[in-house]
């Protein structure tokens, strides 16, 4: 039985390999470049404490962005992440502080509540068929409102030492526990996307929904699961936020969904096309955003201009992505 061992490629393998490498390392290179230039132009930037500080700052957004990345990969969009983070933290805080429940119950409750919102998102988009941008807009309002209702228009100071320990306890490399949690979650997510059938299915459904359907994948089920998991990540982020801020108040997660989306976009994901991208690159994206924000603060740029610059950077990232990546439309 003769094998077809003739060169099977259209593009020479070298060029494709180079392109793959460029894609993979492009963002990394940018991050390295920024790190270098920031470090060279500002003394305190490269200080260990400062870098650790950045990691703490990006933890909440980073964890929430994991879920957002999964949703983007499957071809959707989740605008409810911010409100969901708040909702999760509110439930957790309420259970622990006001109801006196043990910490693990609070955390479980918070994550479950946020996962429930995620489940709602999944059903609205995959079963009823509302476009994700609209469905998550609706749940954004609902989750945010519910959160505020539970807060009784005040705030909760969570005194349970567990949460404060998230920031106080320093584990490896003098990094706070919450940062380690973020790294661990990213590691789990990255591995899961590569090694589970669920992860493989997400890439397929996002990459070519019609082909996925014809290949027999259970698209509806997987979409619902994806949104639910995204909700769970938002809940975890909410609990981490309690650790970071010590207090649950309604202004906590304002604009978080856009920060999460920005991190994912800088990490190379696309809002218009699914199926391409890697979860760990979102961490890189969040890190880049964190670095830039931190650098601006060190240099004394007022926080509002920082935001303006961030918008500009996002634009550049989108442009660069369009110009330098190959993607099948």
């Amino acid at each position: 039985m003769a094998l077809d061992l003739t060169p099977a490629t259209v593009a020479p393998p070298l060029r494709e390999r180079a392109r793959d490498a460029a894609e993979a390392f492009g963002t990394l290179a940018v991050a390295g470049l920024l790190l270098l230039s920031f470090g060279l132009t500002s003394g305190p930037f490269l200080d260990g404490t400062n870098l650790r500080n950045i990691l703490v700052q990006i933890t909440v957004v980073g964890v929430a962005a994991i879920g957002e990345t999964l949703v983007l990969l499957i071809g959707g969009l989740d605008l409810s992440v911010g409100a969901n983070v708040l909702f999760g933290s509110v439930i957790a805080g309420d259970l622990v502080q006001r109801q006196g429940a043990p910490v693990w119950v609070g955390i479980l409750g918070g994550v479950a509540a946020s996962a429930g919102i995620g489940l709602l998102n999944g059903i609205l988009t995959a079963v009823i068929g509302i476009e994700p941008i609209l469905a998550t807009l609706g749940t954004f309002l609902v989750a945010g409102g519910l959160a505020k209702i539970v807060l009784h228009s005040s705030w909760i100071v969570v005194e349970a030492p567990f949460f404060a320990d998230l920031v106080r306890t320093h584990v490896v490399w003098d990094l706070p526990l919450m940062v380690i949690v973020m790294f661990a979650l990213y590691a789990i997510a990255a591995v899961a996307m590569r090694v589970t059938t669920f992860g493989r299915s997400i890439y397929a459904i996002g990459g070519n929904p019609r082909a996925a359907r014809l290949a027999g994948l259970a698209a509806t089920r997987i979409k619902i699961l994806t949104f639910t998991i995204a909700g769970a990540f938002a809940g975890i982020a909410g609990c981490l936020q309690i650790g970071q801020l010590g207090i649950v108040s309604s202004g906590n997660a304002v604009g978080l969904e856009f920060q999460a989306i920005t991190a994912a976009l800088i990490g190379g994901l696309s809002v218009s096309a699914g199926g391409v991208g890697r979860v760990e690159r979102t961490l890189l994206g969040a890190w880049i955003v964190g670095m830039i924000t931190n650098y601006q603060t060190i240099r004394g740029i007022p926080p509002n201009y920082q935001q303006a610059l961030l918008g500009g950077i996002l634009l550049l990232a989108i442009l660069a992505d369009r110009l330098f990546r190959t993607r099948t439309t």
């Binding site: 003769a2 094998l3 077809d4 061992l5 003739t6 099977a8 490629t9 259209v10 593009a11 393998p13 494709e16 793959d20 590569r194 090694v195 589970t196 059938t197 669920f198 493989r200 299915s201 890439y203 397929a204 990459g207 070519n208 019609r210 082909a211 996925a212 359907r213 014809l214 290949a215 027999g216 994948l217 259970a218 199926g275 391409v276 993607r327 099948t328």
Partner: protein, 507 residues
């Protein structure tokens, strides 16, 4: 058009083709796929420039350098893929891009008037204010014709395969319009695979084969058999020959009284393990819909179907796949491949259950995946070093093999293959045939839908001809010639002398 030659890098698409069409006549243009019809049309339409040759319209030589130039010379083409915007109305579509306007404001009255005139001109009564999305396909085609006719001074109108999706009533209406155009002095070119229709309405026809003009046939000189003979010419023995034909096993799919929509009725057939069955027909006769219904990708399906022992029409592709069926679609970029995933991942995507360990977490064992995919890759002739690459970089033949490997890995009982070798080079074609044969030998049932006659005859064990939504004939590929097959696809010679267009019996 005289002496039209068109060269592409590596191929000679047209070789000195002459096409003479008289004004006030309907001229047929026929030939197999790949004979050069669409290239010739594209030159006439201004999409291509001829490498050699000249074009004259009404005796004057013309240079058609662009689609706009073609329109200005009075050449209009009604393509098979309609160019209408479904969310706009009929009138809006007819005037799209050329709306009469004053100071930016569209003259609504004139738009409507133009549409009414255009529609009346072809004797059609579709309401100009109706949204195109609400029209039937036949009505949309009429609107498209009206739109094409808004060019100034139409002199040549080409209809490219217009009847593929029409029922008898619509075809009659279409012919009336073509006759009307002819009577008003326009030269009408009718491109079709349906020779009965060509014989019915064309005053003369030109037959192309392999980029050359084989004959020009006048009305009265032509018969169905003659056209088929001219189209096919002397055929060399098919390059592919089956090396194995086994005793067919149990039935893997059977259909009784299958009906889809209003155009496919009373279909009955079966496929058994170990056999390759071909569903064969002219474009639009229903064979693709029937095949898709078997894997759950059709609407309005009635009747009884049993796939791999599970009775009942599959309600979704997922159900069909779970029941043991698989589909290789005609357009693998659109519906088959995952462009950003590796070849290996493309192959294993339908068999995630096989490569997963750990029943709870569904973890993929990379080792098992590599092993299984390599095995199945070897069986389909995909080199192992290609497996980690992005599937986009593969040649057409290897992409098709990947899809084949996908269903091999899944160990499906029924493989439905639509146009198994479209966009595949000759060498890979033979390979794919061999793999399909292997698949049948290993116990699956294979159903192919193809318009490639030599492929059908060389590859299959049984040929089912689909004509007008019914299975009209069954041929034994070992004893049938391509002539016979094409004739059967054209509806057979019975009844030819009693009226070439027979209406479909209404259930």
């Amino acid at each position: 058009m005289r002496g039209i030659t068109k060269r592409f890098p590596g191929t000679l698409a047209l070789d000195g083709v002459d096409l003479e069409v008289a004004a006030g006549a309907i001229h047929g243009l026929i030939g197999e796929n790949g004979a050069g019809k669409s290239t010739l049309l594209k030159i006439l339409a201004g999409d291509y420039r001829a490498s050699e040759g000249s074009i004259e319209i009404a005796g004057e030589p013309v240079e058609i350098t662009s689609p706009r130039a073609a329109r200005e010379h009075g050449v209009g083409i009604v393509y098979q893929e309609l160019s209408l915007l479904p969310n706009l109305t009929v009138a809006e579509n007819i005037s799209l891009g050329i709306e009469p306007s004053r100071g930016g404001r569209i003259e609504g009255q004139q738009v409507r008037a133009r549409a009414c005139d255009a529609l009346e001109g072809i004797g059609v009564s579709v309401g100009p204010d109706r949204k195109v999305s609400e029209l039937s396909l036949a009505e949309r085609q009429l609107v498209e014709i009206a739109r094409v006719l808004t060019i100034r001074q139409p002199r040549v109108i080409v209809f490219d395969e217009p009847t593929a999706a029409l029922n008898h009533h619509d075809v009659v209406r279409l012919f009336e319009i073509m006759a009307r155009l002819r009577d008003s002095g326009v030269a009408v070119i009718f491109v079709s695979h349906r020779y009965r229709e060509v014989l019915e309405i064309c005053d003369a026809s030109t037959v192309l084969r392999n980029g050359q003009r084989v004959a020009r046939v006048e009305r009265g000189e032509a018969s169905l058999e003659r056209l088929v003979e001219l189209t096919l010419g002397q055929r060399s023995a098919t390059a592919f020959a089956r090396t194995w034909r086994g005793e067919p096993g149990e039935t893997v799919v059977s259909a009784h009284g299958l009906a889809i929509g209003s155009r496919i009725r009373d279909v009955q057939f079966h496929v058994r393990r170990g056999e390759i069955v071909a569903l064969c027909g002219l474009l639009g006769m229903g064979q693709t819909e029937i095949a898709r219904a078997l894997i759950g990708d059709a609407r309005d399906v009635n009747g009884s179907v049993a796939v791999a022992g599970r009775s009942g029409i599959p309600s979704s592709p997922r159900r069909a796949v779970v029941a043991g069926a698989g589909l290789i679609p005609e357009d693998r970029q659109l519906e088959g491949l995952f462009p950003d995933m590796s070849v290996r991942a493309n192959i294993s995507i339908a068999a995630l259950g096989r490569i997963a360990v750990s029943p709870f977490l569904r973890l993929i064992s990379w080792r098992r995946e590599r092993r299984l995919v390599r095995e199945v890759g070897t069986r389909t002739g995909i080199a192992p070093r290609v497996l980690p690459r992005s599937v986009r970089t593969l040649s057409g033949g290897n992409q098709q093999k990947s899809l084949l490997a996908r269903w091999l890995l899944r160990r499906c009982d029924l493989l439905v293959c639509l146009e198994p070798t479209r966009g595949v080079d000759v060498g890979a074609k033979l390979e794919i045939y061999r793999r399909l044969e292997d698949l049948a030998q290993s116990g699956a049932g294979v159903l192919i839908v193809s318009t490639d006659l030599s492929e059908v005859l060389g590859l299959s064990d049984r040929v089912l001809v689909v004509y007008r939504g019914r299975i009209s004939a069954e041929l034994d590929p070992r004893t049938s010639s391509e002539q016979e097959l094409l004739l059967a696809m054209q509806g057979g010679i019975e009844g030819e002398r009693h009226g070439l267009l027979e209406p479909e019996a209404v259930a």
